[in-house]
Symmetry: none
DNA sequence: CATGAATGAGGCTTCATTCAT
DNA sequence: GATGAATGAAGCCTCATTCAT
């Protein structure tokens, strides 16, 4: 019991620091973030931050892990809520969930994309890779690797179900359809940020309208007989 | 004449440095890049790099400018080549051009996205720092601002033409259609990098096939009567 | 009684910590040693270590004290065992004892030398820090000062006896003879470590042979009529 | 020419920094030495120190290298000066040279001993070694390894010559005789420092007298027919 | 007494930028 | 114009020590 309490306490303190890290990272960016600032924001000392996360990068990975966990959770809920719906509806719901997740937790969505880019660059043979050894040794990095595939699996699974139950007419492979859907969402997110630069030329478009339209596009893709 | 020669010489040397910068930035990311490395790669001294570009950020902006210039050029060519085609075909050709540009010059596409995100207060990937005053004062930053709107103008223009000439049936506003198309491309780019992480789950999909399918989707969007 | 028990318990726990400290200090050197490591090695918490030894330096002094105590004890036994022998034999026996002590407890011999060098303003090996006020206030430091002179007294005493009983012919002052003997031993110890570097050039020499030869040299020094 | 000048200049600046490092290291010890202090002492900035020596440990190795170089030089001169003397005299001269070197450059003698101890501890299989990777990668560390054997070679060589020319009667192997001689010197040096602690008991002995007596002992060792 | 989380001063090192030659 | 040595602010991280539980 007391063991459990201690563990809970630790988790709580860690969470407190991750909260702070999120705020600072998201406000000023990774490289502009000083560990000291995170400590201040968390109301603890620099040493305490290092007691829980032995590296700045490790702390960043912890943030990433949390982000991915939350995304997975959202997708899971959506998935569960549409067990009895047709596959098509479930897929579109997943897309909306993702879209909303990105809107609500914009920083998280960036962090996740960041991670995936990072992960990719390791797989190239470059010795001058973006990923440092510190990252690879991070506990959180390994934890992330265990859960990073869930979104893909969930979504492609529902697409397959939709194909089987006849709600999805499109005969392309689920992986391809998945990439289209996910890509549309990712593009939306990135553009949403970028669009700031083009307010002058694009000020007619309302974000909500845009989002809804994308769902329409996705739906008609799944329903087209290509 | 000798003045012109001098100017050409200067342009050449600058180009040489930008070449080197590109390589290093793309290999290890902005913050891991040292001016020294760029100088070495360019075969000049650090002092020379600073003679032509007074800041690391300014040099990065120069790379960005070149990227945008090349993209604009590609789009221009496509645009010109389809003057006499229907608007629909021109728009799709522009999308293909953009898609191919991103595939061929992946680093450029990242840099351009980076730039567009630059104005936002949120962080733009772990790797880039936030915009500083130094950036805003950069000559290249201003040069970019002069040409940044070209892609939007070109594409929305062609969409409008397609609507007028009847080749585009969709009645949504051109800006919205533009955002869909552009978003699809951006999503493709980002995912293309990220997808590396999921080779295990997504190994069935071939990039070329994916690209072609996206064009199909865009075409049917423009042809749908929503 | 219970008081005595408590005291014994305390002594036991202290000894346990000193054991651990010895291991770690000897393995990685003073400055590379972390209190945490000592605690772990002793199977207690860092707080406990600090309960018994309020400073890292104090703990080091405790190790030194133990080392000196053990050396004194060895020398005492040798001294006692040769009460009825000639002074010459007793002196040589003391030298052998010291030599064997250094061979057997190499770390102790280093620590003792370290301590003796401590008062000098010069640096004592890359690894040890200079004497701070904390050391001087250390209880162990004072305890050491009470017993540090025993080796000198014992050995010079036996030399004097040897001179008196005629077994030692050499007419130099006992202090000088002592310094020669002690210096030979110290040199042996330091070289024994260092010699590792020269295994290639010195691989013919066997440590035991070397030791025995040194005793021969000392004997003939004491027997020479200089 | 100008190339040579540049190289000379560099050597000069390095020497200046090593000078400063020596002073500070010797005054307060390795771990109490701050790079900043060395910089100040050298009259340059911290960055400059790092420009020439990329690590504190590397700088320490540079000091060690210089110390060994100077010792080697002294021994060489002595060796050359006694080319036509008997081997015995040459050996004793080498011992005196070493003795004087240690007296004159006490810090150097400590540094050299330090290095040899360091070098030994690497050869043990411990993963918790005293030597860090930084040291092993140091250019100076490798340079030292090239010259560290000179003293042994020189002295054992002269002993052999002495045996051949009949001036050395002792029939023990040169390596053993070398160890005795060198050990006596090392012991002298260490005790000379340590003796400070025992001024009360040993104040009768004068250093010069001690030194001379040691030479006598060594001479009679080499002349004894063991 | 024991624990181990918390502290924060301190030091090494990096690197964009400057500047004398 | 080019060079590369010099600068020094800035930041990550370590670890002896303290202290609440």
């Amino acid at each position: 019991m007391s063991n459990t309490n201690a563990s809970q306490k630790r988790t709580l303190k860690e969470a407190n620091i991750i909260d702070a890290a999120e705020k600072v990272f998201s406000a000023v960016g990774y490289s502009n973030t000083k560990m000291e600032d995170i400590a201040k924001e968390a109301g603890v000392s620099k040493g305490t931050v290092y007691f829980y996360f032995d590296t700045k990068e490790n702390l960043y990975m912890a943030v990433t892990y949390r982000a991915l966990l939350l995304l997975n959770d959202s997708l899971y809920r959506s998935h569960a809520a549409h067990k009895s719906s047709f596959g098509l509806e479930s897929v579109l719901a997943l897309a909306e969930t993702y879209l909303d997740f990105c809107a609500k937790y914009f920083f998280y969505s960036e962090v996740i994309l960041d991670y995936m880019t990072l992960n990719r660059s390791t797989q190239l043979g470059k010795d001058r890779a973006r990923m440092t050894d510190a990252i690879k040794e991070s506990m959180y990095y390994r934890m992330i690797q265990d859960i990073q595939n869930l979104p893909v699996k969930l979504i492609t699974g529902e697409i397959s179900r939709g194909v089987e139950d006849g709600s999805i007419v499109n005969r392309q492979r689920p992986e391809l359809l998945y990439l289209v859907a996910w890509g549309v969402v990712v593009g939306f997110v990135k553009l949403n940020v970028a669009a700031g630069s083009f307010r002058s030329t694009l000020h007619h478009v309302n974000t909500q309208e845009w989002r809804d339209y994308l769902i329409t596009v996705l739906r008609s893709d799944l329903l087209s007989n290509r």
